[in-house]
Symmetry: C2
Subunit: 349 residues, 2 copies
């Protein structure tokens, strides 16, 4: 491999300091125009290749953007990323992805990594464990555009694209009420996260609007895991009364609930209707497909990308803070659809 | 924002050159232990934060590695990434992820992006459409360690971690033969990819070893998609004879096959046994859990990371080319297990 030309070779050749060469290449105003021209000419003659890193330091643009998500293998997050890629790729941007595994320490490290690799912007959905937001504010201070999607923190100057989780919770609960369910339980997820609080409030609001009593014991914090959904069903069935429907803020917990209900010989949806949230692909693969709230993640990604492009274009003159709220869609399937199940049973007779 | 402390401030304070400070901070052996301690102590007192970028330009090390996969949302790939992260994170590495969507053009762009962001190494599983490998050879030429996992190209000097796909195909087919299946069809995936050729050869070898005739029409190229699996079943059921088992090189196609067989009123596994490949999470969530070959992806990621660490440590003195082959595991579940189904039926009576 040919020896790589470095900034020190130019410095030696011109007998000026490497720092001066570096500043000249970076168009630092402290360096005279004459020196800049000399350095650039010499660099070109020596076939000096500034790496993108150095270029980035100069122009401030790399055409790379970073996306930070809790997990890459959750269909919701990978679909948002696809939306971002679809929108940004025609503009020449490359997308770099990091996953936090819901750990704020990873989130801090990854923000540093991305800032150090000089990305043009960061898209992020915050980890569950994120309380302090200094590392996020740092991005804004460094003038790097940051766009929240789905899970956000309320920080001035940061745009966000979210869905109307309240409405998602409302639609799911309203649907169960219309199926004739009277005792609807809610698996809420971690209420430290705004999205789960909003879904929970949507559930309570629908119950109130339709004069259905929300039993406090039936509101449970359940992790987004299959086992947690099945444990929650066991907890409910140890109470003095049981629900006739579950609205779960997580598809995984909904799946666990259905599995446990089946093990107990309880019919879904005839005895207990179940609705999940996120429209994970498996919800429709099941033998008993699961009703779920679709968060339109590809749309979310596309919208986040659009906000970023606006911000990049406008960043020289003004700072835009944009809050985009998308409307979720309820996909009604067998796990909650008593009418459909009746029809299917009749047709089999 | 407070003025940033630079290497020059430490240099001024200690009255030694910036280069010496830099070397001391980078643990250069030319610098005395005494100087190193002095520099580190002073740097800490002054609250000096080394810029990773500057570190990279100086030491050629960023502690970032890149991973390129076809899709982040395939459980297999996300699990390999988890294995890489688990192994590298204690060594202070950060993992940056890119997805090609099976498009070689994206693959080329992403390699350039990663090289330009000065990663310390690249892990990759090549896209289906990759024929020419100039962009991959470029990585080797630039002296950046590259490790293939799962899908590789045969290029000198590149280490790889793969599973024994031949054995996976053999184990799956042998299991179906032992269940009493005599007419086993194979859904093979794209035979341009070595992994699918090897699984197909494993299937043929098992058939031969057990004196079961492989019917050529029963070997079909089927995409890794649910719809493709169901279409393939329709194609088979239009032939003059039908198989009594399917070994699918893809879990998605296996799922589509099972769904279509059920629609036709054909019992799985009693009339047709089905085995998939990859052990996607949904295979065990199904009401009829699907037998599948587990590629031990977390192990694969961990092994790839270990090869990388060896390579990084040894790179100054020698170039290591290592080929690691992992053994797959067959997870036998209801979709192919006739004995189990018989027992379950008896216990219900």
């Amino acid at each position: 491999m040919a020896e790589k030309i470095t900034i020190y070779d130019i410095s030696n050749k011109l007998n000026i300091s490497a720092a001066t060469v570096s500043r000249a290449l970076n168009n630092n105003p402290k360096i005279s125009l004459k020196t800049k021209e000399l350095v650039l000419k010499t660099a070109a003659e020596m076939n000096y290749k500034q790496n993108r890193l150095a270029q980035a330091l100069k122009s401030g643009k790399t055409n790379n953007v970073g996306v930070i998500v809790p997990y890459i293998n959750r269909s919701f997050f990978s679909s948002v990323i696809r939306g971002i890629e679809e929108e940004l790729s025609p503009h020449g941007y490359h997308v770099i992805i990091c996953q936090t595994h819901e750990d704020v320490h990873n989130e801090i490290e990854q923000i540093n990594t991305l800032l150090n690799t000089q990305i043009d912007g960061i898209f992020m959905s915050v980890a569950k464990t994120t309380q302090d937001t200094k590392h996020i504010e740092k991005v804004v201070k460094e003038n790097t555009p940051l766009i929240f999607f789905d899970r956000k923190k309320n920080i001035d100057g940061i745009s966000s694209v979210v869905i109307d989780d309240f409405k998602g919770g409302y639609l799911a609960t309203e649907h169960l009420i219309k199926q004739g369910c009277k005792k609807i339980a809610h698996f809420s997820g971690d209420l430290n996260l705004e999205i789960y609080r909003n879904r929970h409030e949507g559930y309570l609001a629908a119950m109130k609007d339709y004069d259905v009593t929300a039993i406090p014991k039936f509101s449970m914090q359940v992790n987004s895991k299959i086992e947690s959904g099945s444990t929650a069903i066991n907890d409910l069935w140890n109470l003095s009364e049981q629900p006739d429907a579950i609205f779960s803020a997580s598809d995984y917990a909904a799946l666990g609930a259905i599995q446990e209900l089946k093990r107990k010989g309880i019919k879904v949806p005839e005895e207990v209707g179940v609705v999940g949230f996120s429209n994970e692909p498996f919800t429709k693969y099941m033998e008993l497909p699961i009703t779920s709230v679709d968060q339109t993640p590809v749309e979310m990604g596309r919208n986040a990308a659009k906000v970023f492009l606006e911000q990049i274009e406008g960043s020289k003159t003004l700072s835009i803070e944009k809050k985009v709220v998308l409307t979720p869609k309820l996909n009604i399937r067998e796990s909650s659809n008593r009418e459909l199940i009746k029809k299917l049973l009749v047709s089999k007779e």
